[in-house]
């Protein structure tokens, strides 16, 4: 029987890998909530496909976390048996779907960061992370293109679509600073060439965002403060609700298989 949250060893690389796996799983799960509810069939399929890529990345990363921890845990144990405080994902990815514009803005902001992040990771001194990255960066490049095109269509579209996209950007922008945070124990991983130095990715990310926003006639909000905490397990209220859905079956029927 499993109750409560797994006690995970607190090793820097394990923590780092779990954070990236959590980003992919939580965002993939959010997108899966759109399945059958998309504004049109093509975009319903698109969001489900983005989710599939992300959940696939999460599975590979969780599997690697299991190897690193050496406690015999598989991908499902990490996904289903940790409470929200054990999750290390970015606040950005756990935000609710909102309308289509909010989902696209969230996805674009993530992809604008994750695409150059994974490309940089292909040069990691850790062979497994480099291999995972080589697959993820191709997928994220496609995600960036798809969501970037939608940013431009929505922002430079009708008054209604512009307003919705701008409103989503005004809300979500303040959750992007966390991407560049260096977590506990992470500096040593950067220095040994295992983890990505966020400074090496930030310029590319900013450049992508500013180019797309210009074409989309959208503007970055001003006067706010960047929020963080997800990487330390301090989440917005939304993650707990998401996990009750994601973990329901394994929490209600521990060890269930089919």
């Amino acid at each position: 029987m499993h109750s409560g949250s797994l006690a995970i060893a607190d090793a820097p690389l394990l923590r780092y890998v779990l954070g990236r796996a959590d980003d992919a799983l939580v965002l993939g799960h959010r997108l899966s909530e759109w399945c059958g509810h998309g504004p049109m069939l093509e975009e319903d399929l698109a969001l489900a496909n983005l989710a599939l890529d992300l959940i696939g990345q999460a599975r590979t990363l969780y599997t690697y976390a299991g190897v690193l921890e050496g406690a015999g845990r598989d991908e499902d144990a990490y996904a289903y048996l940790r409470d929200e405080r054990g999750y290390r994902n970015l606040l950005l990815v756990e935000q609710p779907n909102g309308d289509f514009a909010a989902t696209i803005v969230r996805q674009f902001l993530y992809a604008a960061w994750a695409d150059p992040y994974w490309r940089q990771m292909t040069r990691s001194a850790d062979a497994t992370l480099a291999a995972i990255a080589a697959k993820a960066e191709k997928e994220l490049a496609y995600h960036l293109r798809h969501t970037g095109e939608w940013m431009i269509r929505l922002g430079d579209g009708t008054a209604e679509s512009h307003e919705r996209a701008q409103r989503a950007l005004d809300n979500l922008w303040w959750l992007t600073g966390e991407c560049a945070d260096v977590g506990p124990g992470e500096q040593a991983l950067i220095e040994t060439g295992i983890a990505v130095n966020p400074a090496a990715v930030q310029d590319v990310c900013r450049d992508t965002v500013s180019r797309v926003l210009r074409d989309a006639t959208l503007v970055l909000p001003t006067g706010g403060v960047m929020r963080s905490g997800g990487r330390l397990g301090r989440h917005s209220e939304h993650l707990g609700h998401l996990l009750t859905d994601l973990q329901y079956l394994q929490r209600t029927h521990p060890g269930a298989t089919w």
Binding site: E42, L45, A46, A48, N49, A51, L52, D53, L54, I55, G56, Q57, R59, T60, D115, P116, R119, T122, A127, T128, A130, A131, I132, A134, K135, A136, E137, K138, E139, A141, Y142, L144, R145, H146, G148, E149, I152, V204, D207, T208, R211, V212, D215
Partner: protein, 178 residues
């Protein structure tokens, strides 16, 4: 020599390679996993054989079916047991697809992929936005026209997008360069 339960490992390895190379892709059964570049190797480890495959997309749901089909094909040929292992590196690319597979895709109504973008392209970072709304030309697999339009960036499987030919007016799948 090839009859009976005892054959040497190298003979069995070669036979397994031939059998596994014929396993069709579960979602596009006109091409084999060998032609798609999913089958990487068959190697002898101690006295067991390992079939090494590489995933296409991280979340491709066909991978588990492919693993199952490999084991079933090898056992049906009386060449078992084998283990199937996944190799992530080097990452699969559509550039590994054989010319035969490209022809078979076209005959099946799927436009084959063009050259994949290189991960190491130094310009990849700065030109991403400049490529939005632009596509490398895709040839209609039915009539050969280049007057084609993308209808949806995501299609019936992770590896395909949906297009329409403006000349013959038929929709068709495009196997995305990846």
């Amino acid at each position: 020599m090839t009859e009976g339960p005892v054959v040497d490992l190298e003979t069995r390895r070669e036979a397994v390679r031939r059998v596994v190379a014929q396993v069709p892709d579960p979602e596009i059964p006109v091409v084999t996993i060998d032609d798609l570049g999913i089958l990487r190797d068959v190697i002898a480890e101690g006295d067991t054989l390992q079939v090494v495959i590489t995933p296409t997309y991280s979340g491709c749901p066909a991978m588990r079916v492919i693993e199952h089909d490999i084991v079933a094909a090898v056992e049906a040929a009386g060449l078992g047991p084998v283990q199937v292992t996944l190799s992530l590196s080097p990452a699969w690319t559509t550039d590994w697809m054989s010319d035969r597979a490209r022809q078979q895709l076209r005959a099946f109504g799927i436009a084959p992929p063009g050259p994949a973008r290189s991960t190491t392209e130094s310009s990849a970072d700065t030109t991403a936005v400049a490529t939005f709304f632009r596509h490398a030309p895709v040839t209609c697999p039915r009539c050969g026209s280049l007057r084609t339009t993308e209808l949806a960036a995501f299609g019936s499987t992770a590896c395909k997008s949906l297009w329409r030919c403006e000349a013959c007016r038929e929709p068709f799948d495009h196997f995305k360069a990846h």
